[in-house]
């Protein structure tokens, strides 16, 4: 069966799963996220092993500012919700609504990134640089890896919006949207763990 | 087949195998020739596991050879053998028997894992030694005695020796095969291990973890002496350091060697402590002193010569070590020879037998 069998005809209800290519893409992506889980799991382990070694740098309890991190968390959680709305619109073949929700999603993602950049800038001012201590290195690596994932997601979804404009919603583009939504939820879940393990546990001590 | 007859035949085979193993290797180096209770425990476990495993290997080999002879395809044979799916009884047998064998090995394993990990660091009877591994030499600090020495670990027989170990630069591993298994010296953390030396003698120690170009040369010696000798050694080590008699040589020695090295216990340098170096079996861990060791081999040189060669060009013997060669260090040939002689004669004379 070819990828474009339905391209210009009637779009099925689950366009992302209509072709073998689409189903492969979704399965492969879930497997990729399995690998990503292990990746972040290892980063978390390294952070947990090193987080008490602050040397001369500021201690996490005095460094972290929960209100701002909480705001970032809320923004990212909301963006996950809007990406659910986008996929729902996809299932109902409402292309315009889907694009709008996707735009909201990346705007929220950009907001999150902005806060994170501000936060990192602030920490560096406080004397918490990348090379300060084992704690700081592992902190920036873990949170920075997540931030890079968010940035990649924003660019990716942005690119997909462009493709939808050009190619419309087809059995080729639908799996891409669907997969990017799974990705977006994944980085959201990772953030929930970062919020708990890094920030809340850092505050407690 | 009569099972008892098979076992009867196998037993002497296994016993012979064990005998063969126990006769193997140098007394001061081989794990198969244990000279202390720790290595003996490990050797017992090794014999047990080798025995079990030899049994497994024999069974598999026997089946394998039988099958290959009995079931080889004859030329022109086009028959189709019976397509067997499996056999639950057999499959249960070869699941349960290995489990039972593992239990036989697992129980003593757990017992000795905890037994060999006993901590004697609070034990007043045990001798506490801090081992610091450097690229490419060993530092031994007797914390309770206020003594530091290098390359040659002197221990009394009949006491538990509790080691606390760390690495000064990279990871090394402390191993005296005939006395007991190894333990890593990690930079940044300390490990503990105890050993016992029931017999007097010199035992070879090795670094067992890749630590740089001279990893192969990072040998040391562990010398077990009687309790009396050990006490004499301790007081000799603590006695004021003996400097070269010639004032010029003493000056050169102080200016060019003692910047890094130390003699006596007043202060410790960044390089091996040289107190009583004339007693040591080797120079640099690998150049055997023919006038010191009990069994000099062809090619071994006297300590004065070894010291001379070593000081002249240490990089030749241990590349990448931190000691400059004599020319770089500004030592003249005269000074070099005199210092080598002084060091070779720097003996503590603590052993009653005077070996």
């Amino acid at each position: 069966m070819s990828a474009h069998g339905h391209a210009d005809g009637h779009l099925p209800h689950d366009p992302e799963k209509a072709t073998l290519e689409g189903r492969n893409k979704i399965l492969g992506f879930w497997l990729f996220l399995g690998a990503e889980t292990v990746l972040f799991g290892t980063l978390f382990s390294a952070y947990l092993a090193l987080r008490h070694n602050v040397l001369d740098g500021p201690h996490p309890a005095e460094l972290f500012q929960l209100p701002m991190v909480f705001a970032a968390t809320m923004i990212l959680l909301t963006s996950s919700l809007t990406s659910v709305f986008a996929v729902q619109a996809l299932h109902h073949h409402k292309v315009k609504a889907m694009i709008n929700w996707l735009i909201v999603t990346i705007v929220l993602g950009l907001g999150f990134l902005g806060l994170e950049i501000y936060e990192f800038y602030h920490y560096v001012q406080e004397g918490h640089g990348f090379t300060t201590s084992a704690f700081s290195s592992s902190f920036y690596t873990l949170v920075g890896f997540h931030g890079a994932h968010v940035a990649f997601g924003v660019l990716w979804i942005g690119l997909l919006i462009g493709q939808i404009f050009k190619k419309g919603l087809t059995v080729v583009t639908a799996p891409k949207i669907y997969v990017s939504a799974i990705y977006w939820h994944f980085i959201d879940v990772v953030w929930v763990f970062i919020f708990t393990v890094v920030y809340l546990m850092g505050k407690v001590g | 087949m009569n099972r008892r007859r098979v076992t009867k035949r196998l037993l002497p085979l296994l016993a012979g195998f064990a005998l063969l193993l126990s006769a193997c290797g140098r007394e001061d180096l081989s794990t198969l020739n244990p000279q202390g209770p720790v290595a003996e425990t490990q050797f017992d476990l090794m014999k047990l596991s080798i025995g079990i495993m030899a049994l497994v290997v024999v069974v598999v080999f026997a089946i394998c050879i039988y099958v290959l002879i009995r079931f080889r395809r004859r030329p022109g044979d086009t028959s189709i053998p019976k397509q067997v799916e499996g056999n639950h009884k057999l499959e249960i047998i070869w699941t349960v028997i290995p489990l039972a064998l593992l239990l036989v090995l697992g129980v003593p394993t757990i017992q000795h894992v905890f037994g060999l990990a006993k901590d004697y660091s609070k034990d007043k009877e045990a001798l506490q030694v801090k081992v610091t591994a450097h690229q490419y030499w060993w530092e031994f600090e007797y914390k309770d005695l206020g003594i530091t020495t290098a390359q040659e670990l002197i221990v009394p027989t009949g006491k538990k020796i509790m080691f606390e170990m760390t690495g000064a630069d990279v990871k090394h591993s402390f191993w005296i095969p005939s006395i007991g298994g190894k333990m890593d010296t990690n930079p940044g953390t300390t490990n503990k291990m105890y050993l016992e030396f029931p017999k007097e003698g010199v035992f070879r120690g090795k670094c067992a973890e890749l630590c740089g170009p001279s990893h192969a040369y990072m040998d040391f010696k562990a010398k077990a002496v009687s309790a009396d000798s050990f006490e004499r050694w301790v007081s000799a080590m603590k006695a004021p350091a003996k400097m070269p008699e010639d004032v010029e040589i003493a000056k050169a020695f102080e200016a060019k060697c003692l910047l890094c090295h130390a003699i006596g216990q007043e202060n410790q340098g960044s390089a091996p402590n040289l107190t009583g170096i004339g007693d040591r079996q080797t120079i640099g861990g690998i150049l055997y002193n023919s006038d010191v060791v009990a069994d000099p081999q062809p090619g071994d040189k006297p300590a004065a010569q070894n010291l001379h060669d070593w000081i002249k060009d240490p990089q030749q013997y241990k590349p990448d070590n931190k000691m400059p060669n004599a020319a770089e260090n500004g030592l003249t040939e005269e000074e070099l020879t005199a210092i080598a002689k002084y060091l070779a004669d720097y003996k503590l004379d603590y052993q009653s037998s005077g070996k």
């Binding site: - | 794990t31 990990a117 940044g188």
Partner: protein, 615 residues
Amino acid sequence: MAAHAHTVKRYKGLMDWLTTVDHKKIGILYLIAGFFFFLIGGLEAILIRIQLARPMQNVVGEETFNQLLTMHGTTMIFLAAMPMLFALMNAVIPLQIGARDVAFPFLNSLGFWTFFFGGVLLNLSWFAGAVPDAGWTAYATLSGPTYNPGHGIDYYVIGLQIAGIGTLLGGINFMATIINMRAPGLSFMRLPMFTWAIFITSALIVFAFPVLTVGLVALMFDRLFQANFFEPGTGGNSVLWEHIFWVFGHPEVYILILPAFGVISDVVSTFSRKRLFGYSSMVFATVLIAFLGFMVWAHHMFTTGLGPVANGLFSIATMLIAVPTGVKIFNWLFTLWGGSIRFTTASMFAIGFIPTFVMGGVTGVMLASAPADFQYHDSYFVVAHFHYVIVGGLIFGIFAGLHYWWPKMFGRMLNEGLGKLTFWTFFIGFHLTFFVQHFLGLLGMPRRVATYLPYQGFDTMNLISTIGAFLMGIGTIVFLINVFTTWAKPRNATGDAWEDGRTLEWSIPSPPPEYNFKQTPLVRGYDAWWKEKMEGKTEMIPAEPVGSIHMPSPSILPLIMSIGLFIAGFGFMYNQLIVAGIGLAITFGCMLLRSVFDDHGFHIEPEDQDKGVHV
């Protein structure tokens, strides 16, 4: 957008190989590259053995020796063994499951090229004069910036990182392929054992390689950006590296050996004309080995000082692996039992594997006993053990698989006389090299030593070991001669080249046409092809009518993406961030192109389907 009539440019010659997304051709590329690195790694091994032939030799200096042992290990594991396994996976898996290709042909090609350029980057270190020298395990702090300031370890870190991307992609690809692309009727419990082994291996890759990725990133940050992960002076923890490395490293051992188990299962079953004994217990054992493989990493660290509780637990967990492994060994023996065993090169390697691997396995159980391991650890005993497992297990398995599937891959039978000569020289050479090393370790010889003092009882056995190594080298050369001489001859392999083939790949021509199966076969049981043959049929029952076959288009992008990463790697290494940026821009630019321009592929119409098919 027009639905059909895509004109896809089809390349010939070199461009065909650079742009191919056909799993069979990618398999051949993996084989060529993997075997090339195998020769390099072998040459390094020979140099190591020459240096150690006599005590206190100085054939290569101590520094070169450390570089040789590091590159030998790294090359053999990441650049020789794994690619040769990927070669077999690519050549065989889609055929065994009745598929026309893998799930992601583009990623398959990308995986090959990233592996290749990662490997090339790592080996360019020889020309740059800065070679990794901290062992394939690269323990901190010996691999850290303080004690290893040159660029050697950078080549290791970045080379493996790039090659690792390829491996991870391969793992995902084959998992998805086996889950989604099986022919109708081919349920999981009807999969050939090799396919099962690759499925489990792929899962191990997916869950183990990211750990290495993080470890390498952390080491790279330590080295290039002054981070403090493993530097004790600034709060880092060198033991953390050991944990990360072995959490990856132990599953890696099973990533290597499970495919060999799969090969042996298929070969033994074929050449004894018998169904694999205890198929379901074989599957279960494989799954169990993989599962346990993730919880035994600390047995590489018994002497690191984790304490008796950890050592005890990891001892027992490690011993448990012996049980499913033993199940496999006996299942193979009882597959042979009652069979009609034909001795070909492939079956001889497979049968030679069984006792050899048992020897490696039992020393593994011995090593599992932590108190005894205090003596074995980092001695030549360990060197002997893992070479018995990796050479006696994996390389024998690869040789068995290559001789077995060679006609399927290339349409030519390898010469059996030369093949048997390969087997005997390699087999005898192998045991000569490594059997004595057990005793060297027990007599007190540490591993990774550049030389050893005389009068320690090491001399004779080291010399024997060196002679054995040369014999293995001769075996490898004979194999190469076999390949080149048969290459010059016309294609002579029939579809069912060994006549006793049992699985789907033997139901189609050798080599298979581009689309593998003209009609997707219907699978009616385990050993699908054997089942049809036994019922007197000469081909599989088709599950679909003859029709137009859709194929993915070739693409040059994977090659360019990998070159981008290669350039970026050098940029990071030599602190030329602009170069690094350009490299990454090339890679991401290609990703962008791939996303924007859809690949519609092309169709092979029924009238063109028999062109160039060798029957």
